[in-house]
Amino acid sequence: MLGPVLETLIGGLMTGVLYSLVALGFVLIFKASGVFNFAQGAMVLFAALSFARLSEFMPLVIAFAFSVLIMIALAYAIEFLVLRHLVNQEGIILFMATLGIAYFLEGFGQAVWGSDIYKIALGLPTDPIFILESVFPGGLLIDPAELIAAIICAVMVLVLAVFFQVTRVGRALRAVADDHQAAQSVGIPLNQIWLMVWAVSGLVALVAGMMWGAKLGVQFSLSLIALKALPVLILGGFTSIPGAIVGGLIIGAGEKLAEVLLGPVLIRTFDLAGGGIENWFAYVLALVFLLFRPQGLFGERIIERV
């Protein structure tokens, strides 16, 4: 019994890493500009579509480079056409604007790149690895592609952490996150910072899209993965990069375990037509956490004054 559960747990943790990748893009933008970017999922889809179609007729590395350029251009377009005109609006207005961007990107991506299912062949090893064969009969199965995704994710988080803590631009980003006006008054150019942060999260979206695309194929449903990243966000806190990672791991492991352990029990007790509790379990888990810590696990404490 313990073997399969552990295997599910590991599989869940690996999926969780992929959730974290999507959540990371959200956090970057929310931290720097206070925008709740609902378009992150659409950006993942758009980036994955670009990469998949480009890689059909050019080497992977060049396709990647072009996709990076496309995401930077997209960040520029969003900053220039949308955000610049919505400075100083309320949070909900900016949120709505990103919903509009999400719709636009979903339509635009499919109109330009096509709406079939595309494959991304990253040339990752596919033979499953077995570990701990001495402890469990048959050992534990691990998908190497997911392992590589986890490693890439870890590297990205490290790079981002260094970028935020050490570099000049990173300091400027943190300053903007703390206080727009104060940052502006010491001479930090807001527009450039936003451009930068959208470009970086576009890059994160590209990596996330490549990983998800290699796993599931590039298709419209990729943009729905953003919805799965939301409970990760509330669990970890909107403003915390480690939170996004830890939250992703908890959600990924939690929902897989729930499906395996809790699902059959629920089906038996309530006479259900099939399980599928994965769809809401993450949210409910996050909700329960929220009742005890309203700002998420690692979110900044909310100090309220009148």
Partner: protein, 357 residues
């Protein structure tokens, strides 16, 4: 000679009642009365089936849902992405009551739908006492996904229908079948008018002021003696009631047969779009937003044939997505406070017109 008809000159208020009227300006009052009378008596004279089923009935039903969400989000400031789920609660509650007690009056069925949605809304409104803003918005998504899942999986709700899709039979009111588009329209219109008047009186009364105080600053509201528990939960209750009734109406009178997918998260976004485009915190905005959201896709679908271009359906749907997204962004940039604000500005201009000030 210019026509100067929109003036309140000479309209003196001589009693408190007159001062507190819903429409203190006579021209406003009369135009609303004329509009409602026209909707009841004038529209059936010329409206065809297409106008009824594709435009008027959807706009009216979605307006009710938009009013519901506007009470919660626009008046009480609690952002919710769970409207689709609450519409589903209304729809399935009505379905089950009509199925299990077939003799029940249809008005009671819709009331029951509202009350059930209200109870579920109260339950899912509880987290709002602890969490705020976008955290709450994501928490309401939990209710959306949970409810969607429950109606797809718990067989009792769908009466063990093998396909998971349910259908309602004839709807009749006091022996009169509501089967033609014209009758459906009148029925929906009557419910909309009643619910709108109720909502107007709620939001301008004590309870509405309580909601608005919580919206504007919850801590300050608490300090002046408003209990957040009462204010927030009552907003959730009233809002879910409206959305539940709208869900039942949508299922019974617009769809006829449906599955949980009809109330998925896109429906929630649709209702949210309505109140943002229409205007947060205005009842007029709920109607304008609903009309906008229903009419724009119809318009976009017709556009290629008007222009004489032939396009594949996939391309049309992609372009529809793009145009819809672009319109939302453009709209937010041009008028973040929605259509209702445009209307208010137009009215203000009309008061002075033709003079500059």
């Amino acid at each position: 000679m210019t026509i100067v008809f929109y003036r309140e000159v000479g309209q003196f208020k001589t009693s408190y009642d007159a001062d507190e009227a819903i429409f203190p300006i006579a021209q406003d009052r009369w135009s609303v009365i004329v509009l409602v009378a026209f909707a009841f008596l004038g529209v059936p004279l010329f409206a065809g089936q297409y106008l009824y089923t594709e435009v008027l009935i959807p706009v009216l039903i979605l307006s009710i849902a938009a009013i519901g969400l506007n009470i919660l989000t626009g008046y009480c400031g609690q952002l919710s992405l769970g409207s689709g789920g609450f519409m589903a609660v209304g729809a399935y509650a009505a379905y089950n009551l009509a199925l299990r007690l077939p003799e029940t009056n249809i008005i009671l069925v819709f009331l029951f739908a509202g009350v059930m949605a209200m109870l579920v809304g109260l339950l899912f409104g509880l987290p709002s006492l602890r969490i705020k803003g976008f955290y709450l918005a994501v928490a309401t998504l939990a209710s959306q996904f949970f409810l969607e899942w429950a109606f797809a999986r718990v067989k009792w709700f769908t009466n063990y229908a093998p396909s998971g899709s349910v259908a309602v039979g004839r709807v009749e009111l006091f022996g009169v079948p509501i089967d033609t588009p014209g009758r459906t329209y009148i029925f929906v219109l009557a419910i909309t008018v009643v619910l709108t008047i109720a909502a107007k009186n709620l939001v301008r009364g004590r309870i509405g002021r309580m909601w608005m105080a919580i919206r504007d600053m919850d801590i300050a509201a608490e300090i002046i003696g408003i209990r957040p528990l009462h204010a927030k939960l009552s907003a959730f209750a009233v809002s879910s009631f409206y959305i539940g009734v709208a869900g039942a109406l949508w299922a019974f009178l617009r769809l006829g047969s449906w599955e949980p997918l009809a109330f998925d998260v896109n429906r929630s976004f649709q209702v949210l779009f309505m109140i943002i485009i229409g205007g947060l915190g205005t009842l007029l905005g709920s109607f304008l937003g609903a009309a906008f959201i229903v009419l724009v896709p119809i318009f976009l679908n017709q556009l290629p044939s008007w222009l004489g271009i032939s396009m594949s359906t996939a391309a049309i749907s992609h372009i529809e997505f793009m145009l819809f997204g672009a319109m939302i962004v453009l709209f937010l940039i041009a008028e973040p406070h929605g259509l209702a604000r445009l209307w208010a500005i137009a009215k203000e201009k009309l008061r002075l017109w033709p003079f500059p000030y």
